[in-house]
Symmetry: C2
Subunit: 368 residues, 2 copies
């Protein structure tokens, strides 16, 4: 009985921050400024990526300890998709400032309410296929950061020499499955990625982090004091009714920087938990293709109805019950968002950003 | 004054029959069962092909002498697109029976109202770019058939060795620009088409005909008596209130056959007027491509907005102000009809018929 109470007590101090402010421009036009990737039922499961992220963390932390940080523009979408989430659990950024200010605000906000808090921070738009493994990994991570003054990142056991991800090189093991971080690396070229894979020392950087609120705030003070100072000025109002006005005023003054650059690559108390729970960042059409079930012609058809002839290796992303009849098309992205149709070879998907720019130049915001 | 009266008197007996019952399945999905090709603003001019056909004949025959023959299903579309056309000028076929029964009915109907009538019969879905030349050609044709017991067809001066058209070989000249027909030919292969072009004796079969009502009815009796007999049974009611009930009952008993097979290839009094007024039957996506203005990348963009990269030779047919962003696509048809998207190499467009069949098998009438 004492043990159970203790577990519940520990659990009550565990929080999740779901980062949900991205714009998903690499998936234009299927992902749009007013309906980014994380709000779309991207895999045809009936739940958006955000909803899947919420569902996934629900068994791990108390419902009332789940927070979503998003852009003001998406407040209504978050409320609509997560009706169980109380309004106070949605933190609305007045402007986009990358992940470090987002994570800092969430940490200060949570610590103001619960000084003992530990936090898992995770993106809203990733795919995780093995949910039981995910739960176990997060629970192990919480236990580690609660007993160490540690910044913990999850490193995914790589299954292929992927050039689209950053890698984490592990150092000495501190307990089974948790190591010191030796280096963070940028996206490698294919030759280097193959070397990474062979050594067994390199893991994909997942963008999922765990730490105590006080540990990350302390690290912010040390490694990114400009950001910490912004929130230090708000200590009196964070967690109170005055918080919204403070954030409106002060959040935009934060520099725009990722948590990796701002803290993780500088701090010495950084650890990696190596995990293997079927993860993809779904960062590109090609990764979506790789992670989606294929039909007998090796096409990915998302939700849609496709009649294909001599066509293989394509990804079709079309909303509703639209029919696609396609002949002689191989290895293309075909994405239809109603008012925009994209047809682009998978190998050329980096040019989508240029298309978005050109569409903006030529037609203003109409098709963004 | 006498001369003018005489001209007006002659003009008052001239009729036009616009055949408007086609289903346009080669242009699926842009052309649909409920909105076939002839009703679409196919060239982005602001007028449908039917409206353009009506506009074109209006200077030539009296407005009240223009008839449209169409399927019952398209009655509302015809009324909407040609609001000046009185209801009595729309002949509604209860079922599709190809051109011979359509032409026979129209001839019997017109002759019942005006025994001296001469008629130009023309499709509703062809392109003619030189309207003044067209007017002159039709007027010359009327004059010829009014003074001869002749079945006159218009033969287009060929500009290329087209394999998509039937050809008419001319015989002896009977007056400038009008010859006896020597042979009708089926669509030739490319080698034969080249020979045709070199000889100067072969003209494209336009499907535009002129004759007196009594001449075509006489030819029907001689060469297609099964069809003539059907309408002979209706002589008492054609042109009266009883016509509709008669047609509902009897029209479906007609054999389904083209006017070429039923009459033109059998009769001896068949003549061809050789013309040159910028004609295309717009029968295929490729012919639409050939006849449409291209942008600087040699793409045909119909009405729509296209951002193209490394893409040439395509035809984009998309309704409304949808944006197409396309990369690395060459010589394709991209046709979007809202609920169906077709992507098909121009060279494979004959497979569209199979796609329509497969869509019907799999989804019923939903996408037809």
């Amino acid at each position: 009985m004492t043990q159970i109470t203790t577990n519940q007590e520990i659990r009550s101090h565990r929080y999740c921050v779901i980062m949900c402010g991205g714009i998903g421009s690499r998936f234009w036009p299927y992902s749009r400024a007013n309906m980014p990737k994380q709000f779309i039922d991207f895999l045809g499961t009936g739940r958006s990526l955000l909803q899947m992220s919420y569902d996934r963390i629900l068994p791990v932390v108390p419902k009332e300890n789940i927070l979503v940080v998003t852009n003001e523009a998406y407040a209504a979408l978050v409320k609509e998709q997560l009706p169980d989430l109380p309004a106070r659990s949605i933190l609305l950024e007045p402007t986009r400032r990358n992940t470090a200010p987002c994570i800092a605000w969430a940490a200060y906000h949570i610590k103001a309410c619960d000084p003992q808090a530990s936090i898992v921070v995770m993106p809203s738009d990733h795919l995780i296929t093995r949910e039981q493994k995910f739960e176990e990994s997060i629970l192990r991570g919480f236990a580690f950061v609660e007993s160490h003054e540690a910044l913990l990142t999850l490193g995914i056991n790589p299954s292929r020499p992927e050039t689209g991800y950053g890698y984490i090189q592990i150092g000495s093991e501190v307990e089974p499955g948790i190591n010191k971080v030796k280096t963070f690396t940028e996206k490698p070229d294919i030759e280097l990625a193959k070397v990474f894979l062979e050594t067994g020392e390199f893991f994909w950087n997942s963008g999922i982090f765990l730490w105590k609120a006080e540990t990350i705030i302390k690290a912010m003070h040390e490694h990114s004091p400009e950001i910490a100072q912004v929130f230090d000025r708000g200590l009196a109002v964070l967690g109170t009714e005055g918080e919204t006005a403070f954030i409106e005023e002060e959040f935009p003054t934060c520099m725009s920087i990722s948590i990796d650059f701002a803290v993780m690559e500088k701090a010495s108390n950084v650890y990696v938990e190596t995990v293997d729970f079927g993860w993809s960042d779904l960062g590109t059409w090609s990764s979506l293709y790789d992670n989606s079930p294929k039909n007998s012609s090796a096409n990915v058809t998302q939700n849609c109805r496709v009649l294909s002839y001599d066509s293989t290796g394509n990804i079709f992303a079309v909303r509703g019950d639209k029919l696609i009849a396609v002949s002689g098309l191989n290895d293309y992205i075909v994405a239809d968002a109603g008012d925009v149709l994209l047809i682009c070879p998978k190998a050329e998907e980096q040019s989508i950003r240029n298309m978005v720019s050109d569409a903006k130049l030529k037609f203003g915001d109409k098709y963004l």
